[in-house]
């Protein structure tokens, strides 16, 4: 039993992996259906009211997916990541781990990596589902741009996990870790409403797949991508440092 296997077992035995993959896949399949049949769905609720909805384009399915992934998917991801990264929330568990490793880094790194891989892969699976259904129901999507955009979206989620690690190293409970992390992640798009700032923020990346298959170019996400990589690395360093300074 290693700390890497421990994290894998945490995902599998607690069935969190099902929740994580399930939520992204659900919205991956739901998004294109909603986009394709939006007019019919609205008509069924509209009674005699005549609704005029523009014909869907393939990117609409991805737009719907990204919208849900950025909200519900992010919330689930943060909750699951916090449950793994806030290992001092129950001090006795913290004592068990901390007194058996040379550095607290040995505890944090496997948790961060496993969670980051699980969250980003779940997002990518949902994105594949959205791509497949959009192509089938609506029309072709430029695969290359979709892939680059999806990877940038996954990078944003890796950043979100690093943020959770930073907060968990200071917060005393899983719930507080979730609340503070979500607060910071929700504040980011609000700050990003100012265009000059928005394109530098990690939150800009979550919509990259949608933007790239419409009219954006990778250059539009370059600054946010570079900032996100640095913030993620810095966040991981901060998380380790914060956990080292904590007393149990």
């Amino acid at each position: 039993m290693t700390l890497w296997r421990l994290e894998w077992l945490r995902l599998v035995r607690t069935r969190r992996v099902i929740g994580l993959v399930g939520v992204y896949l659900f919205f991956g399949f739901l998004g294109p259906i909603t986009a394709r049949y939006l007019e019919q769905i609205l008509s069924s609720f509209g009674g005699d009211l005549e609704l005029v909805v523009p014909d869907p384009v393939p990117a609409d399915g991805i737009t719907q997916y990204v919208g849900n992934a950025a909200q519900i998917g992010l919330l689930v991801s943060v909750g699951i990541a916090a449950a793994a990264l806030a290992f001092d929330a129950k001090p006795q568990m913290g004592v068990f781990l901390r007194t058996r490793v040379r550095s607290v880094r040995d505890i944090i790194v496997p948790r961060f990596v496993v969670m980051a891989v699980a969250v980003s892969c779940s997002f990518l699976l949902g994105s594949i589902a959205a791509l497949y259904e959009s192509v089938v129901l609506i029309g072709a999507i430029p695969i290359g741009w979709w892939l680059v955009g999806s990877l940038l979206g996954a990078l944003y989620l890796v950043f979100a996990v690093a943020l959770v690690a930073v907060v968990a190293a200071r917060a005393r409970s899983v719930m507080l870790t979730v609340v503070v992390s979500i607060g910071v992640l929700l504040a980011m798009p609000l700050i990003g409403l100012a265009p000059a700032i928005g394109e530098w923020l990690p939150s800009h990346l979550i919509g990259a797949v949608d933007g790239l298959i419409r009219d954006q170019t990778p250059g539009d996400y370059l600054r946010a991508g570079v900032v996100t990589v640095f913030l993620t690395a810095g966040g991981l360093w901060l998380a380790v440092r914060g956990a080292e300074q904590r007393e149990l």
């Binding site: 421990l6 945490r10 006795q92 568990m93 004592v95 068990f96 058996r100 007393e247």
Partner: protein, 290 residues
């Protein structure tokens, strides 16, 4: 194995440890006792590296330290076997199923080896904690109230386990159960309000406080007997313990041993039993911390 000099820990204005000079010799079993809030857990936390001292110095003569908190907890979806295996792997880098199985057997939870620990009672978790702490054969074992949740059988097994460590490992354990400390420890440290008010061999503590006493059980009524014994010149003290027992003390043990029975006969006492009354650690502890 452990030396602290003027070890001090403050939490804001509260002084949790006040200039503690601790000396734990290699291979000894050291009992740390004291009332709630005396600083036992803080001291163990500093020795295990989980807390930092505000002032003073700590020297621990090994990096192979096993730590058991008072209420051990583990991920409840792990099996007992996996917990002990994880502990061994993290501390030594090796996997040894035979050693894990032996440790589970030694702590009496072999039957539950493949059960998820989420269903374990507090006593079983404590046994598992002991197994996970000792599996890697640490040179220094820090145990915080290791028997607090155990039934008499479990307590007996864990105390035997600790006693067997003597010589092979150095053990420091805190306990509220002074009988446990008296049974397995060779050295005792008494903490009171963050200060180490006594440290030394258990015999020194007990002998220093010992005075010749006998506990006598009588058929009631005992008032006339007590009155008669109080008039005997060589008897220092007659204390009524309860309606059927009295404690008789004297300055000289030999006189007490020779003269007590005749004195009781003279007093017309109907004696049920009579036995020497050595002070327990609890008696001494209560006297010291007052």
């Amino acid at each position: 194995m452990i030396t602290t000099r003027s070890l001090t820990k403050r939490y804001g204005a509260t002084v949790a440890l006040d200039r503690v000079d601790l000396a734990v010799t290699r291979g000894s079993v050291y009992g740390l006792v004291g009332p709630n809030g005396a600083g036992k857990t803080t001291l163990l936390g500093i020795l295990s590296g989980l807390r930092r001292a505000t002032d003073g110095a700590v020297e621990v003569g090994t990096t192979r330290v096993g730590v058991l908190p008072d209420t051990p907890l583990f991920d409840d979806w792990l099996t007992a076997c996996e917990v002990v295996d994880l502990s061994l792997r993290l501390t030594t880098g090796e996997s040894n199923p035979e050693r894990v199985a032996a440790m589970l057997a030694e702590t009496g939870i072999a039957d539950a080896a493949d059960r998820a620990v989420g269903g374990f009672s507090r006593g079983m978790l404590q046994r598992l904690g002991v197994a996970a702490t000792l599996v890697s054969r640490p040179e220094l074992v820090l145990l915080d109230e290791p028997c607090s949740a155990l039934d008499p059988l479990g307590r007996r097994e864990v105390l035997d386990l600790i006693a067997r460590l003597r010589g092979d490992a150095t053990v420091v354990f805190s306990s509220h159960i002074l009988a446990d400390v008296q049974e397995v420890c060779d050295t005792v440290g008494i903490l009171r309000r963050g200060r180490l008010i006594f440290e030394g061999p258990l015999e020194n503590l007990l002998v220093g406080k010992a005075r010749p006493q006998y506990l006598v059980r009588l058929r009631p009524p005992i008032e006339r007997v007590v009155d008669s014994l109080q008039r005997v010149a060589w008897i220092d003290e007659v204390t009524v313990v309860d309606p059927e027992r009295i404690r008789v003390g004297a300055a000289d043990l030999e006189t007490l041993e020779r003269e007590l029975t005749p004195a009781l006969a003279t007093a017309g006492a109907r004696v049920v039993s009579i036995s020497p009354d050595a002070p327990s650690l609890e008696d001494v502890f209560l006297e010291v911390i007052r």
